[in-house]
C-alpha cells in the first residue's frame, strides 16, 4: 500500500516547502540521482527540439488548441460523453475526489472485483484511490515499473514521468528481492526489469479489471488516448474484461486531428524521443477486441474554479510532460517530495495550491526563484512565473486578513519598505539609518558575516558587504553642487576603477 496515502504527498498534511526541502538538501545521493535523471532527459529533449524546426509553431498551436478546448469545455465534454456512450462506453461525472472514489468502487463491486491492475495515473494518486480501495478489500497492483518500485518499496513518486528517479539500482534490487522473494537478484537494470516482467505477466493474464488514466480525451470521436513506453498500458487496456478510465475534465481535445500537434510535443518534452514506443487509442467498446465493460470517470475536483480565473486558466493546458521540472533549478536541488504533492516541480507549485483552493500548499508559489526556464520549455506555453506571482498575491491577500501578519517580519518589513519608497526623503533617511545600524554587524574587513531574524537566512551561507558610506544619489548631489559652484573651475577628481571591485 502506498501512493498518496502517505502524508508526505498529502498537501493537507505536508510541511511547508522550505521545511520539506531540508532533509533532501542534506541527501547527496538523492540530489545526485535527481540531477542525473533530469540531465539525461533534458539533453535528449534539447537535441530533438533543435532538430524540429517548427517547434515554436507547434507550441503556439498546442496552446491555442488547449485554450479553445478550455473556453468551450462544457460543450466538448458533452460531445465526448455522447460519442463515447454511442460507442458503448459509460461516462460518469465526479464533482470531487470522494465522489470519484465512490463511483470507481461501485463499478468494481458490480464486477465482484477483489483485485485491480493499474496503469500509472497521477489522477488516481491525486484522489488517493489506492488506499481507499485497499481499505475496501480490493488489492491494487501497479504495473508501471516505477510505480511497482514505489508500491513494493512503500515509496512516493517524485516526478511525473519518471516517478522513481530518486531510487537507485541498489535500492530497487533490495525492494524486488524482498517483495518478489528472489534470491541472488543482481542490481543490473536488465535483470531487475526482467524480474518485474515475470512478476507482472500472470497478473496481466488473469486480473479481469483494470484502471487507467488518460493523456487525452477526443471530443469529436469519443476516443481515449494513452501514451506509454513499457507496454503495461497496452496490457491493461486489452486483456481485462472491465476497464475504468479516470480523467480530469481538462484532458479533452476538440478533434482527432489535434493529436497531430500534441503527439509531436509530448514525447519530445517528456522523454526526449520523437515518439514514445506505444500510443493507444480506443473508442468505447469494440466487440471482440479489448474490455467489453468500459467506464470513463470525469473528474472536476477543483479544476472548474481554475477555469474561471483569467491568469490561472492556462494551468489547465498542462499535458503532464514533466519538462518543467526537468529544467527547474529548484527541483534539481530538492527533487519532488519536497513539494508535498503528487504534482511536483513548477506545475505542482501552481496546480496543487489551486486544487486546494489556496487553503493548503500556500508555500508552493514561493518555491521558485522566478527564473522562467519552465515557461521556455512548456510545450503548451503555460506562463508559470506569471501564475506564481499571481498566486503569491492571492496568498498575501489572505494573510492580510489574519492577525498572524503582525508577527511575520517579512510582512512587516515589506509594508514598511513600501512606505519608505513612497518619498525620497524617507528613503534617504532609511538608508542612513540602515547604514548606522548595520555598522554594528560590519567587521573590520568591511563585510557583514552574521545578521539576525530574516537576515540570518542570508548570512547562513553568504557574506554581505557593509553599506558604503555614500549612496549614489549623495555622490551625484555632491557632484552637481561642485559643478555649479566650480563653474569654469577644476573638475573634481573621480574615483578610479580599483575601488569598484569587491
Amino acid at each position: 500500500m502506498s501512493s498518496a496515502g502517505h502524508p508526505i504527498l498529502d498537501p493537507t498534511l505536508a510541511p511547508p516547502f522550505p521545511v520539506a526541502a531540508l532533509p533532501v538538501l542534506r541527501n547527496p545521493q538523492l540530489r545526485k540521482n535527481v540531477a542525473h535523471a533530469i540531465d539525461v532527459i533534458q539533453a535528449k529533449r534539447d537535441r530533438l527540439v533543435a532538430e524540429k524546426t517548427d517547434w515554436q509553431a507547434l507550441r503556439e498551436a498546442a496552446s491555442g488548441i488547449k485554450d479553445e478546448a478550455l473556453e468551450n469545455l462544457a460543450a466538448y465534454l458533452e460531445q465526448f460523453e455522447e460519442r463515447c456512450t454511442a460507442a458503448g462506453g459509460h461516462v460518469h461525472w465526479a464533482g470531487d475526489a470522494a465522489e470519484a472514489r465512490r463511483i470507481i468502487l461501485e463499478i468494481l463491486r458490480q464486477e465482484n472485483a477483489d483485485e485491480v491492475i493499474k496503469i500509472k495515473t497521477m489522477t488516481s494518486a491525486e484522489i488517493q484511490l489506492n488506499p481507499f480501495l485497499e481499505a475496501a478489500g480490493i488489492r491494487t497492483y501497479e504495473t508501471d515499473l516505477a510505480e511497482i518500485i514505489l508500491q513494493l518499496g512503500n515509496g512516493e513518486p517524485s516526478h511525473i514521468v519518471v516517478p522513481a528517479l530518486h531510487v537507485n539500482r541498489g535500492q530497487v534490487r533490495e525492494i524486488f528481492a524482498r517483495s518478489m522473494g528472489i534470491e541472488n537478484l543482481s542490481d543490473d537494470p536488465q535483470a531487475l526489469t526482467a524480474a518485474a516482467r515475470h512478476y507482472l505477466r500472470q497478473k496481466f493474464l488473469t486480473v479481469p479489471t483494470a484502471i487507467s488514466g488518460a493523456n487525452f480525451l477526443i471530443a469529436e470521436t469519443g476516443a481515449v488516448v494513452i501514451v506509454e513506453s513499457e507496454g503495461n498500458g497496452r496490457m491493461c487496456l486489452t486483456l481485462p474484461r472491465t476497464l475504468i478510465t479516470l480523467a480530469g475534465i481538462e484532458k479533452v481535445l476538440p478533434r482527432f486531428a489535434d493529436l497531430e500537434v500534441m503527439l509531436q510535443l509530448l514525447a519530445r518534452s517528456a522523454t526526449g524521443e520523437r515518439m514514445n514506443p506505444y500510443t493507444s487509442l480506443w473508442t468505447g467498446v469494440t466487440p471482440g477486441d479489448g474490455p467489453q465493460n468500459f467506464h470513463v470517470v470525469l473528474l472536476d475536483n477543483q479544476r472548474s474554479p481554475i477555469l474561471a480565473r483569467k491568469t490561472e486558466r492556462q494551468t489547465l493546458r498542462c499535458i503532464r510532460c514533466g519538462a518543467c521540472m526537468n529544467t527547474c533549478p529548484v527541483y534539481r536541488q530538492t527533487g519532488g517530495h519536497a513539494y508535498g504533492s503528487v504534482y511536483p516541480g513548477p506545475i505542482g507549485a501552481i496546480l496543487t495550491p489551486q486544487l486546494q483552493q489556496l487553503q493548503h500548499a500556500r508555500s508552493l508559489p514561493y518555491a521558485s526563484s522566478l527564473c522562467g526556464a519552465c515557461y521556455d520549455v512548456c510545450p503548451v506555453k503555460i506562463n508559470i512565473p506569471e501564475i506564481l506571482i499571481d498566486l503569491r498575491a492571492r496568498v498575501t491577500d489572505q494573510e492580510r486578513e489574519t492577525a498572524r501578519k503582525f508577527s511575520d517580519p517579512m510582512y512587516l518589513g515589506l509594508r514598511i519598505a513600501n512606505w519608505i519608497f513612497s518619498r525620497a526623503r524617507l528613503f534617504h533617511l532609511a538608508q542612513w539609518t540602515a547604514r548606522i545600524v548595520l555598522r554594528f554587524f560590519t567587521r573590520k574587513d568591511g563585510w557583514i558575516h552574521s545578521l539576525p531574524s530574516v537576515g540570518a537566512k542570508w548570512t547562513q551561507t553568504r557574506d554581505l558587504r557593509g553599506l558604503p558610506r555614500e549612496t549614489f544619489h549623495q555622490w551625484w548631489s555632491e557632484r552637481e553642487r561642485q559643478r555649479t559652484r566650480g563653474q569654469g573651475g577644476e573638475r573634481p577628481k573621480e574615483p578610479g576603477t580599483r575601488e569598484a571591485a569587491r
Partner: protein, 247 residues
Amino acid sequence: MRASLFITCYNDTLFPETGRAVVRLLERLGVELEFHPGQTCCGQMHANTGFRPEAFSQARRFVQMYQDAETVVIPSSSCVAMIRDQYPGLFEELGDEKLRRQFAALVPRIYELSEFLIDKLGVEDVGAYFPHRVTYHASCHGLRALHLGDRPFRLLAKVGGLELAPLENLDRCCGFGGTFSVKNGDVSSAMLATKLEDVLATGAEYCTALDNSCLMHLGGGMHRQYAPMKTIHMAQILASTQQEVHG
C-alpha cells in the same frame, strides 16, 4: 543624446560604484545624464512577493516621475523586466486608463544598460580596458525576460585586455530570486553552491553580470568561502580605461 538614469533602490544603497561607473561610461560616450532626485524603487520586490497594491503605488510613482524623460537607462535587467512585463498588468488591473496610456508612451524609451549602448547608441566598442580573465553570468531576467542575447558578449569582446572564460550551464539560475533568497534560504544556498562550482571552475579573476542582485548573491558566497574570485558589474568593466588603470 540625453538620458535619465534610474539607478535602482539597491544600487543606490549597496552598489553606488556601479552607478558612478555608469555615469563615467555614458558621459565618456557623449551622453548628457540627468538624475531625478526623487527616485526610489520600481516595485519589483513587492510585486514578486505578492504585495501587489504596494507595487502599484511604486509603479505609479515611477511612471509619473519619468513621463517626460527622453530616455531612461537602468543598470538592472530585473527592474527593466518588472517595468515591461508586470507594469501593464498592474495598470490594467487597477483600471487607471490615464496611467496606462502614460506608461505605454514611456515604455519604448526605457533601456537596460547593454540595450542602451548597443540599440540606442549603436556602439559595441566603448573604449574600455580591463586586462583580466573574466567570466560572464547571464541573469535570468536579462536572458529570458529581456532577451538580451549576445549583447553582453559583443560588449565584452571589445574590451581591451579582457580574456573571456566561458561559463558552463550559463542559463542556469544562480538561486538569488529576490526574497526567495531568504524565504527559501536553504534551497537558495544549494543553488548557489551548484552555480559556484561552474563559476569557480572557469578560473577567472572576476565574475561579471548586468545585475548586482545576482552578483551580491554570488559574491557573498565567494567571500564567505575565501574563493579566489571577485564580482564586478559590467558597467564598471566598461567604464575602465587604460588611463585609469595606470593613472
